[in-house]
Each structure stands twice: as structure tokens, then as C-alpha cells.
């Protein structure tokens, strides 16, 4: 019983270490193609990068915008409700501004992009793998990491912070609208107070975190896609695994980042 437990634990540890190693290797290989590809005559195609930016970023604007506005308004509603107990509802801007910029905008954007693009990336690469399209790239002398991974990784790295910034603005705007209705504070006064409260460091905190989320989403999506075995069922499993891993990684990273940043 005990031997079996340790045997299982050992196997899980080895598998986890192996997977972590894959992330490291993929990240390094992506870096190599991004910075050295052009020098050896195999550059990352700008067209592919823009296509991915369109898919990961531009097509997610609608849903990210709606969710950010809803979260912003919700923060304002809850903030006023809680602070009213102490008669301090006028200070709601503090809570909303910090929460939205440092936590909620990066988190909600990361989770939405993970659900949308992390899963799509995993499904796409998984399907390509079972259809032998990745083998076809290799035998044509086209490196799959350069051709498929780097554009997605770079697009995610650029677009997740951009979407996060948009979420911050829209979330604050929605919160300001509610505060305007509930407390009679004008939108201009709300934003004026918000700007005076927030520092550049707060903004950097949120954006830097979202850039890390962008890398995590692309890497997890890609690895799960490349590891697909079997047919359609394998693709389904990989997609589910990618979403679960992405969201877990985002939430844990968010917590660690918050911990380190507030020490």
C-alpha cells in the first residue's frame, strides 16, 4: 500500500517535472525563432502574427468589454453597499480603482482569453497533429514552433495586456456610471479621483501580470495541443485540460504576484 503510494507519487512527480521541462524548452525554442529566425533565413511571418492578434485580441473585444463593465459595476455596487455601513460610501472610488486595475481587469481578461483562445489553440494544434499536418510541416522543412507557436505566443503576449488595459478603462467607466447614479458623483470627478489615487506602479502591476498570463495561455494551449493522442476524443480531452490548466495557472500566478508585489 505504502510502496504503491510512493510509486504513484514518484510517477506523478516525474510526469510533472517532464511537463515543466517541456514548457521551458518550448519557451526557449520560441525565443530562438523569434530573435534568430530572420538571421538564418526563416523569419516569423508578420502575416501570421497579425492573424493571431486578430483572433486572440480583436475578436475578444466584445466579450471582454461586456465582462469588464459588469465587474466594474458590480465592484461599485458591492463597495457602496459595504461602505454605507460605516457611512463611508464616498470612498468607494479607492476600492474600485485598486481592485479593477491591480486585480480584476487582468484576472477577468486572462480567464476569458484562456477560455476563448487557450482552448482554441489547443484544439487547433491537436487536430493538426492527428491529421499529420505537423508531420507535414516537419518533412517540408518548416519548423512547427516557428510556424505555429511563435505567432500565437507573441500575439498573446501583446494582446492580453492590450485587452487588460481596455478592461481597466471600461470597468472603471461602468463603476463611475453607477457611482454617478447612486451617489451623484459626476463621471469626471470619479475619473479625476481615480487618477489621483492610482500610481504608475499600479498600472504596471496589472499590465505586467497580464503579459505573464498571455505567455501562460499560449504555452499551455500549445503544449496540450502537441500532446494530443488518439482521435477526436484526444482533442476534446486536451482542450478541456488546456482550459483548466490555463485558469488554474492564471489564478495561482495572480496570487503569487499579489503576494510578491505587496511584500
Amino acid at each position: 500500500m505504502v510502496v504503491r503510494f510512493f510509486d504513484r507519487l514518484g510517477r506523478i512527480s516525474v510526469a510533472a517535472t517532464e511537463e515543466l521541462g517541456r514548457y521551458g524548452v518550448l519557451l526557449m525554442e520560441s525565443g530562438f525563432w523569434l530573435f534568430m529566425g530572420a538571421r538564418i533565413g526563416q523569419p516569423v511571418r508578420v502575416g501570421a502574427l497579425f492573424a493571431e492578434m486578430m483572433e486572440i485580441g480583436v475578436r475578444a473585444i466584445g466579450i471582454v468589454g461586456i465582462m469588464a463593465a459588469a465587474i466594474g459595476a458590480m465592484l461599485a455596487i458591492q463597495g457602496i453597499y459595504s461602505l454605507k455601513i460605516f457611512g463611508a460610501e464616498g470612498h468607494v472610488v479607492f476600492g474600485v480603482a485598486f481592485s479593477m486595475v491591480r486585480e480584476f481587469a487582468p484576472l477577468i481578461t486572462g480567464i476569458l482569453v484562456a477560455g476563448r483562445s487557450g482552448s482554441a489553440l489547443s484544439a487547433r494544434l491537436g487536430t493538426m497533429k492527428i491529421n499529420q499536418e505537423i508531420d507535414a510541416l516537419e518533412v517540408m522543412g518548416i519548423n512547427p514552433v516557428r510556424f505555429l507557436v511563435v505567432p500565437s505566443l507573441l500575439a498573446s503576449l501583446i494582446m492580453v495586456p492590450v485587452l487588460t488595459f481596455m478592461s481597466m478603462v471600461l470597468g472603471l467607466w461602468a463603476a463611475g456610471m453607477y457611482v454617478n447614479v447612486a451617489l451623484g458623483m459626476s463621471l469626471a470627478a470619479f475619473f479625476d479621483q481615480t487618477i489621483s489615487i492610482l500610481s504608475v506602479q499600479d498600472l504596471t502591476h496589472g499590465l505586467l501580470k497580464s503579459a505573464i498570463f498571455g505567455i501562460l495561455i499560449a504555452l499551455i494551449g500549445v503544449i496540450n495541443g502537441f500532446l494530443v493522442k488518439g482521435g477526436a476524443e484526444g482533442v476534446g480531452k486536451a482542450t478541456t485540460r488546456a482550459v483548466v490548466q490555463c485558469i488554474s495557472a492564471i489564478v495561482v500566478t495572480d496570487m503569487l504576484f499579489a503576494l510578491v508585489a505587496t511584500l
Binding site: I40, G141, F147
Partner: protein, 279 residues
């Protein structure tokens, strides 16, 4: 047709020596030696689990064997540096079983992809070359369609057009007839013969379709349970005295020779034995 008795043999383009492959503890290939000479069509045959797909993956430099040497165009594939392997792959073409066309690209874009990645040709030249190759495979005018709009036979022919766009020295086919009706399958066989005759390519085909193999092969390699059972011409294969080979050719499995009791015993394995002992 290659005359295998001719003393002035063409040069060997693929040389496989003592190729061994394991998947975990399971041995898939047991020390295979095969030579493929320039300009011939070599058909690799064998039943399911014979190791032919693994063998092809080794030949295409997609999978490293456990041990052994594979020389393609006089270059030891697994001893080559990354750049050497990259350059070698440009001289190989592969038509995969399902075509492996990229679903997000049109047929024309699929065919132009190797040119786009490996040459500095302008777009118009690439388009002209793609149309030429589409004509070779009888798909002229289909360049604007998406792969999803093509039939199974058309997808395979488009895959051939992509495989030959760089004028490779060696062309690999993985189960070209799989999933095709006899008419389309025969057309594809004719295309393979035409590529050999018109373009002088060395062609290696993995298939389990006897009719197709007999039609196109200059020589046939028969694999069975990871061993090379036979290498020779179609005529030599048909007249081979070995009962094992004739069984394979006549699709008579060795299992068919086993009587029902023996078969049942094998299926039940230890279970039946232990139950019998308990009784």
C-alpha cells in the same frame, strides 16, 4: 521499370542498415536492411502491426530509431546537424495518408507553402508553379478551393502536388489507396507511375493494397512482425515458394489455420486454465 538483374545498377538513394525500434519494451523493427535505388518505385507491404508505418516515419526522418543507420542521398539522417537535416528535407516529398493539407489555407496556398518558406520567388511565379503541379495531378483550376471542398481522391492528389512542388529527389507515399474507391485508387497509381517516368523520382510507397502494389512496384519489401520477409520484384514475390509469403499474399492469416478450441483457449488465456483447475 528497373531491371533488377542489370549489373549496372543505379545508385542507392536510401540505405537502411540494422534498423531497430522499440516502443517501451515492445520491439517493432528487428534489424531491418533495405536499399532503395534511384528511379525505382519501392513498395513496402505488410499487415497491421508489421512495422511498416514506423519504418516510413524513420525514412521520412520524423522518428529516431532505437539503433541502426538510415542514409538518404548518402547522408546519415540522424548524424546530420539540424541545418543538414533541414536541407535534406527540402529534397524529400511526402504525401500523407489523409493528405495533411492545412485546412485554413486554399489548395493553391497549401501547394505554394514550401516555395513561400524556402525560396525568394515572387508571388506570381509561385502561383504559376502551383498551377503547373496541379495540372500534373489533374487538378487544374482547383487552386482557389479550400481542402474541405475536395473529395478524398482530390485531397490526396493535391497533397501530391504539394509534395512535388520543390521537385524532390525522393517521394514518399503513405497508404495512397486507403479510403479510395477502386477507380480513384487506380488513377492515383497511374499518377505515381507517371511521376516516376516523367520526373525520374525515386518513390517509396507504403501500402497494404496488393492490387495497387503489383501495379506500381518495381520492387516490393514485405515486412512481417518487424522483420523483412522478402525483397524483390513483383514476379519474384508471386512465385516465391515460402508458404508464409503466399499466405500473406492470399490474405490467409495463420489464425485461420487454428481450430476453434485452440482459438478459444487462446482468447480465454489463463482464466480458462485456472477455472478448469478449480473444477
Amino acid at each position: 521499370m528497373i531491371d533488377t538483374n542489370n549489373e549496372a545498377k543505379p545508385p542507392t538513394v536510401i540505405e537502411v542498415r540494422d534498423l531497430v525500434t522499440h516502443y517501451g519494451t515492445r520491439q517493432i523493427l528487428n534489424g531491418i536492411d533495405v536499399d532503395i535505388v534511384q528511379g525505382e518505385i519501392m513498395v513496402i507491404m505488410g499487415g497491421s502491426g508489421s512495422g511498416k508505418s514506423t519504418f516510413l516515419r524513420h525514412l521520412m526522418a520524423l522518428q529516431r530509431p532505437t539503433s541502426g543507420v538510415i542514409k538518404i542521398l548518402n547522408e546519415d539522417v540522424w548524424a546530420l546537424p539540424q541545418k543538414g537535416l533541414f536541407n535534406l528535407r527540402k529534397r524529400l516529398g511526402v504525401a500523407f495518408q489523409g493528405g495533411a493539407l492545412f485546412s485554413s489555407m486554399t489548395v493553391g496556398e497549401n501547394i505554394m507553402l514550401p516555395l513561400y518558406e524556402h525560396t525568394k520567388l515572387d508571388r506570381m511565379t509561385m502561383e504559376i508553379m502551383a498551377r503547373m503541379k496541379l495540372e500534373v495531378v489533374d487538378l487544374a483550376g482547383f487552386e482557389e478551393l479550400m481542402p474541405s471542398e475536395l473529395s478524398g481522391g482530390m485531397i490526396k492528389r493535391a497533397a501530391v502536388a504539394r509534395a512535388i512542388i520543390m521537385d524532390p529527389r525522393i517521394l514518399f507515399f503513405d497508404e495512397p489507396s486507403a479510403g479510395l474507391d477502386p477507380v480513384v485508387s487506380s488513377q492515383l497509381d497511374d499518377l505515381i507511375l507517371r511521376l516516376r517516368d516523367a520526373m525520374g523520382m525515386t518513390i517509396c510507397v507504403v501500402t497494404h493494397e496488393l492490387e495497387s502494389a503489383f501495379k506500381i512496384a518495381d520492387r516490393i519489401t514485405v515486412l512481417d512482425k518487424g522483420d523483412v520477409l522478402f525483397i524483390g520484384t513483383v514476379a519474384e514475390l508471386k512465385n516465391h515458394p515460402s508458404e508464409r509469403i503466399q499466405n500473406l499474399l492470399n490474405r490467409r492469416s495463420e489464425e485461420a489455420e487454428i481450430n476453434a478450441d485452440e482459438y478459444l483457449r487462446r482468447l480465454m488465456g489463463d482464466k480458462q486454465e485456472s477455472e478448469g483447475m478449480a473444477r
